[in-house]
């Protein structure tokens, strides 16, 4: 299916957020996730089902003021 990952279009075979992180090589313990603008806690990623057109954000610590 086609989704948006961090603003970039992506064709993925992953059906859940957890599988997507795995597929894309993210270190799952070092990122925070949101699906369609809503926070998805670490423990709920495996149950977060992706659908066509889903917007996924994977965020990491960054410098900030």
């Amino acid at each position: 299916m086609r989704i948006d990952l961090n603003g970039e279009p992506l064709v993925t075979a992953a059906t859940t957020l957890a599988l997507l992180l795995d597929e894309q090589g993210f270190d799952a313990a070092c990122v925070a996730t949101a699906l369609d603008g809503a926070f998805v806690p670490r423990g709920q990623r495996a149950a977060a089902v992706l659908s066509d057109g889903a917007r996924v954000e994977v965020l990491a610590p960054m410098q900030g003021g």
Binding site: C30, A38, F39, V58, A60, P61, Q63, G65
Partner: protein, 253 residues
């Protein structure tokens, strides 16, 4: 006390815009800061090095919601930050205008209410407006962070009278001057006025020598705090001799 945490250094330091990760690390150490601000962004390539700096700093982390323009964005960012950084502290920024970076007080109060109810300890980036401050306290905030001047402007305390009123109006609430500080003297003035801490970033990160400037800010904030506690003398319109008149010799020939 900042949500039950006492801090000996009252300088809070931002981590953005440094020339290199090594200089950031040295600047944090030189500043003596015990709180550093961090953010969340889409995963870049050098994320691991930054995580090492955070872990090695020994500092308490204050994640921000910088760049958020709506309640929804700010709340979601705060939720993600709490999980990622393992802290319920959040520097809540809801920006009303992309050019001025002025806080949107209406959205700020609403987001503060949602986050406070969800167990966050909110540090709201606000203006010196007293009523907005009261609404933020009603929403559950126990710290307020009025701006000194617009973010990154280096103008110092642009409305000293308004900030003095705010200090007087909220005598028991920790008040942190956040944003707009350009020079150590400005940070020291804020502390001499009785503010509880100063949060800054650009003034250190963009100095010609950020490490030395970090040390200068650390010393200025500490000196201002000691000066406030020592009690400043009242200013006078006229001179008052400090050397006693008594015992003065008569030397007129």
């Amino acid at each position: 006390m900042f949500y039950g945490t006492s801090l000996s250094s009252r300088l809070m330091l931002g981590t953005a815009q440094y020339p290199s990760p090594a200089i950031l690390r040295q600047a944090i150490t030189a500043s003596g800061a015990e709180v550093i601000t961090v953010s969340l962004r889409r995963e870049g390539r050098d994320g691991a090095a930054f995580r090492d700096i955070l872990a090695g700093s020994g500092c308490r982390l204050l994640p921000n919601t910088a760049g958020c323009h709506s309640v929804r964005e700010a709340v979601t960012t705060a939720e993600m930050a709490r999980e990622l950084f393992g802290t319920s502290w959040i520097k809540l920024e809801v920006i009303g205008h992309a050019d001025t970076l002025q806080p949107d007080p209406f959205a700020l109060v609403e987001a503060a209410r949602i986050l406070s109810a969800d167990g966050f300890e909110v540090f709201p980036y606000t203006t010196e407006d007293l009523i907005v401050g009261e609404k933020l306290l009603e929403a559950g905030c126990r710290v307020l962070m009025p701006w000194g001047a617009p973010i990154g402007s280096g103008q110092g305390l642009r409305n000293i009278g308004g900030l003095r009123s705010m200090r007087a109006h909220f005598p028991d609430i920790p008040l942190v001057i956040d944003a707009g500080i350009g020079a150590p003297s400005q940070a020291m003035l804020a502390m001499e006025m009785g503010f509880d801490a100063v949060l800054l970033n650009t003034a250190v990160a963009k100095a010609a020598d950020p490490v030395a400037m970090a040390a200068a800010f650390g010393q200025a904030v500490a000196a201002g705090q000691v000066a406030f506690n020592a009690g400043l003398m009242p200013s006078r319109d006229m001179a008052a001799a400090s050397t006693p008149i008594f015992g003065l010799a008569e030397l007129v020939p």
